[in-house]
Symmetry: C2
Subunit: 121 residues, 2 copies
Amino acid sequence: MSKQLLPLLDQAADCHVPLVAEPLTAAQAEGLAPAFKALGDPVRLRLLSLIASHEGGEVCVCDLTDAFDLKAPTISHHLRVLKATGLVTADRRGTWVYYRAEREALDLLSGLLAAPAEATA
Amino acid sequence: MSKQLLPLLDQAADCHVPLVAEPLTAAQAEGLAPAFKALGDPVRLRLLSLIASHEGGEVCVCDLTDAFDLKAPTISHHLRVLKATGLVTADRRGTWVYYRAEREALDLLSGLLAAPAEATA
DNA sequence: CACTTGTCTTGATGTTTGTCAAAATAGACG
DNA sequence: CGTCTATTTTGACAAACATCAAGACAAGTG
């Protein structure tokens, strides 16, 4: 119920209106910026894409590590950033840890950038 | 014609498919990340929102400066970042410079995060 | 041409960030 | 319980960043 799926997006959850429609408040902007910042790194963007697009909805870290020329700690660091914003969630099952994309968070951000219903000139 | 409305989003313009649908290539991610990074700062997020939501579609820098507790050079810096990614365009008319949001760029990013047509489970 | 106002550029500074090596934790398997 | 693999945490360092003061540039006004 009061599950906190979107840690950093929480306070901003009340703005389902595109930022094109009305100016964000300073508080909303501070709540939303970390999510975009998390997407602002090529590695994290690919990580999220790999996770979100993977069949079954979840991916083992071991599979993610192989897709990059980066050491495991670096991948782990980026995953933590994504997790901190609520864009993904982690779930350990035995030896392996699986990451899953949080569509709710993606929808929030997508809607924020979308055009407001009507026109697109 | 070959107008370059989306400087940094240019190379990534060929991915109109949500990142949920299929994994981004490294090149696509590198092309897109700067745009999200530009949105990853509270000040820039508010700036974009102020510009995009303003009646008439454009805003004078002088109006933007007043909305923040920041010096003019700082605002100018953030506007330049937004401009470099193609999220906004600038246009000097006489004494004042007007900024305008580039809906094409916003649509691209929004679509990238959107769910792929069908389900939303 | 001088003066004023609006905007941007340059240079400097303290903070944040991406990356890795080394060490720590978590679980499986003898 | 010891050992092996998977993942995370810690610590360190260079690169990138946000911010400002000072100065430069643009354009309108006397």
